[in-house]
C-alpha cells in the first residue's frame, strides 16, 4: 500500500551485475540496489580470481615467485617483477648495477604505457567509442613488441631476476623504440581528438564517480585515481627508486576527482612515460646487468658446464634458493594503478615465510561502492573502468 504523499513510489530492486559481464572486464560482482535508475546501494564482491598467490610463494624458493608476480597485474608484469625483486634485494642488502637499474626503469615505463592503454581503450569502448579501442590495442601491440624484444614474451614477461635482469637490451632496441613511439604518439593523438572534446564521452565521464581528496586518502587510494583528486602523490617523485631521480618528468593531477580527470591523468602519464624512456636511452651507461654475487646470481653457463665449483654453486642456488638473512622488508613502487608494495619476511632459509603483495587495485576498488551510491546505474560502467581494477592483482 503506497503512502498517500508518495504515490509514484517505486519498489527497490536488486540488480546483479557480473561476475561475468561485458562491462566487468575482470571478474567482479556488483549487487546494486536500485530505485528506478538510481543506485541506492552497491555491494562489490571480489575473489573470483583468487589463485592462492601467497600460499604458492611460500612453497617455492625466493626466485620461483617471479612467474607468480607476472600474473598479478598482467598488463604491466615487469613492474610487478621489479617490485618483488626490489623487496628481496632490500632483504639481502644488495644494490644492483647502474645499467640494470636503467633497464628496469625503461621496461617499467613501457609497461606503464601498455597498462594505461589497456585501461582507456576498453573503458572508452564500454561507453560507446569502439574505434578508440582498436587504436589503443594497436598501440599496445607496439609496446608489447618492445617488451618481446627484451625478454621473448609479450604478456607474462618474467624478465627481472634477483640482483639483475634476464637479458640486456637488444642491439636494435633504440632504433625500434623510436619508430614504435612515433606510431604510438600518433595513435594517442588520434584517440585524444576522438575522445577529449567528444560531447557524448564528456557527458558520461565528467562529474561521475566523484571522490574528494580527503575521502580518496581515507579509502587508501594511490596512483592515477588519487592524483585525479588533486593530490600529487607519486613515488617516482616522492621516494625516487631505480633511476627516477635522473629523469625529468611531470606528475599530472586532476581537479575534480571524477572519471574524466582519471582519463586525462592517464593520457598525460603515457606522454610522460615515453618522454622518460627517451631520456633514459640517451643516458644509459655501459656495464654489467647483474650483480657479481655468487649467493644471488648463478655463474655463466660456460663455467657451469666446464668447472666443478661453478657447477656446485649453480646446483645450490637452484635447489636451496637464494637465502636472505632473517628479517623483514617492505619495498614499494609506483605501479600504473598506485602503490604496489611487497612485504617480505625471511627466516634465513631459501623459502619465504611471507610474501605479501599490497595490491593497489584492492584498495581502489573498495571505494567503488561508496562512489556509485546516489548516482545513475549507467555511471557504474565508466567508474568501474576508470578505477581499473585488475582481477589478477585484486584477488591474487
Amino acid at each position: 500500500m503506497a503512502e498517500p504523499e508518495n504515490e509514484l513510489h517505486t519498489d527497490e530492486m536488486i540488480l546483479n551485475i557480473g561476475p561475468s559481464h561485458p562491462a566487468t572486464h575482470g571478474t567482479v560482482r556488483v549487487l546494486a540496489t536500485l530505485d528506478g535508475e538510481n543506485i541506492v546501494n552497491a555491494d562489490v564482491e571480489i575473489g573470483y580470481l583468487h589463485r592462492a598467490f601467497e600460499k604458492s610463494c611460500e612453497h617455492g624458493t625466493w626466485q620461483q615467485a617471479f612467474p607468480y608476480t607476472d600474473r598479478l597485474n598482467y598488463n604491466s608484469a615487469i613492474i610487478n617483477n621489479v617490485a618483488y625483486a626490489m623487496g628481496v634485494e632490500k632483504l639481502l642488502g644488495i644494490d644492483v648495477p647502474e645499467r640494470c637499474r636503467f633497464i628496469r626503469t625503461i621496461a617499467s615505463e613501457i609497461s606503464r604505457v601498455a597498462d594505461h592503454l589497456t585501461c582507456i581503450g576498453p573503458s572508452a569502448m564500454e561507453v560507446g567509442a569502439f574505434s578508440t579501442f582498436l587504436y589503443f590495442v594497436e598501440a599496445r601491440e607496439l609496446m608489447w613488441d618492445l617488451i618481446e624484444s627484451l625478454c621473448g614474451a609479450r604478456l607474462t614477461n618474467n624478465y627481472v631476476r634477483i640482483g639483475g635482469v634476464k637479458a640486456d637490451l637488444p642491439a636494435d632496441f633504440a632504433e625500434k623504440l623510436k619508430a614504435h613511439f612515433v606510431k604510438t604518439r600518433q595513435l594517442i593523438d588520434d584517440v585524444d581528438k576522438l575522445l577529449t572534446h567528444n560531447r557524448i564521452f564528456i557527458d558520461r565521464m565528467r562529474g561521475t564517480g566523484v571522490l574528494s581528496a580527503e575521502d580518496a586518502i581515507d579509502w587508501g587510494w594511490t596512483g592515477p585515481c588519487l592524483r585525479s583528486t588533486g593530490v600529487p602523490l607519486d613515488l617516482r617523485k616522492d621516494e625516487p627508486y631505480l633511476v627516477y631521480d635522473q629523469v625529468d618528468f611531470d606528475v599530472p593531477v586532476g581537479e575534480y576527482g571524477d572519471n574524466f580527470d582519471r582519463y586525462l591523468v592517464r593520457m598525460e602519464e603515457m606522454h610522460q612515460s615515453m618522454r622518460m624512456v627517451e631520456q633514459l636511452l640517451e643516458k644509459i651507461p655501459e656495464g654489467p646487468i647483474n650483480v657479481e654475487d655468487t649467493r644471488v646470481r648463478w655463474p655463466a653457463k660456460q663455467l657451469v658446464y666446464s668447472r666443478m665449483e661453478e657447477l656446485i654453486n649453480h646446483f645450490k642456488i637452484v635447489f636451496e634458493g637464494v637465502q636472505p638473512p632473517k628479517g623483514e622488508a617492505y619495498a614499494a613502487v609506483e605501479s600504473p594503478n598506485g602503490e604496489l608494495g611487497f612485504y617480505l619476511v625471511s627466516d634465513g632459509s631459501g623459502k619465504p615465510v611471507k610474501v605479501r603483495c599490497r595490491p593497489p587495485g584492492f584498495a581502489n576498488l573498495q571505494a567503488l561502492g561508496p562512489i556509485l551510491k546516489g548516482g545513475m546505474l549507467s555511471d557504474l560502467v565508466p567508474s568501474f573502468g576508470m578505477i581499473n581494477m585488475i582481477g589478477g592483482e585484486c584477488d591474487r
Partner: protein
C-alpha cells in the same frame, strides 16, 4: 638508550637512535611499545593489542605525524612460535612523506584485536582478508565476513598448518 627495547622476532638494529616519528610514539606510549627496530631502514614498532587503536589515532591526528594514508594490513603466522600471529600494518604520511610499520602480536588461541575501521575506512577489506586467510577476528568490524573465498570454505588457508594441496568442494552461492 632512549627507550625500552626488548627482544625482537625479526633481526633488527634496535640499538639505533629512533627516528623522530618513532620517538614521538615512544614518548606518548612508552608502556605499550613492546619493541622497535629499523631493519633495512623500515621504522617498525611492535605494540600491545590493547593500545593499537589509540596508537593509530595518535599517528593519524598529530600534526607533525599525520599518517593519513593507510596502505596495508596483513598477518603473518609464525607457527610454532608463540605468540603465533602478528598483524602487520603499513602506513604513509602524505604531508611529510614518512612511512611506519606497526606490528601487533596475537596469541594462537586468542587471535583477536580491535578493528581499525574507525580510524581509516580503508582497513575494512584488508581486515576481512586477514580474517579470511588467517582467522584473525577484528572486534567491532561492521561486516567481518570472507572476501576472497566463499562463505562455506572451512579453515583459513594461509595458516601454516593448512596443507597447500588440500581440496574443498566448491559450493554455489546461497541466494
Amino acid at each position: 638508550m632512549d627507550a625500552p627495547v626488548e627482544g625482537n622476532r625479526a633481526a633488527g638494529d634496535s640499538d639505533e637512535k629512533p627516528s623522530p616519528a618513532v620517538q614521538r610514539v615512544l614518548e606518548r606510549f612508552s608502556g605499550d611499545v613492546l619493541s622497535r627496530h629499523a631493519y633495512r631502514g623500515d621504522d617498525t614498532l611492535v605494540i600491545k593489542r590493547e593500545a593499537v587503536v589509540d596508537v593509530c589515532r595518535f599517528l593519524k591526528a598529530e600534526p607533525d605525524l599525520r599518517f593519513d594514508l593507510f596502505l596495508d594490513l596483513t598477518a603473518v603466522d609464525y607457527l610454532p612460535v608463540e605468540p603465533r600471529f602478528e598483524v602487520v600494518i603499513h602506513l604513509y604520511s602524505t604531508p611529510h612523506g614518512l612511512r611506519m610499520r606497526l606490528k601487533v602480536p596475537l596469541a594462537g588461541d586468542d587471535p583477536e584485536m580491535d578493528t581499525l575501521t574507525s580510524v581509516w575506512r580503508a582497513t575494512d577489506w584488508f581486515e576481512r582478508e586477514a580474517w579470511d586467510m588467517y582467522g584473525i577476528v577484528f572486534r567491532g568490524h561492521p561486516n567481518l565476513k570472507r572476501i576472497l573465498l566463499y562463505e562455506e570454505f572451512e579453515g583459513h588457508p594461509l595458516r601454516k598448518d593448512y596443507p597447500i594441496d588440500k581440496r574443498q568442494p566448491l559450493i554455489g552461492p546461497k541466494n
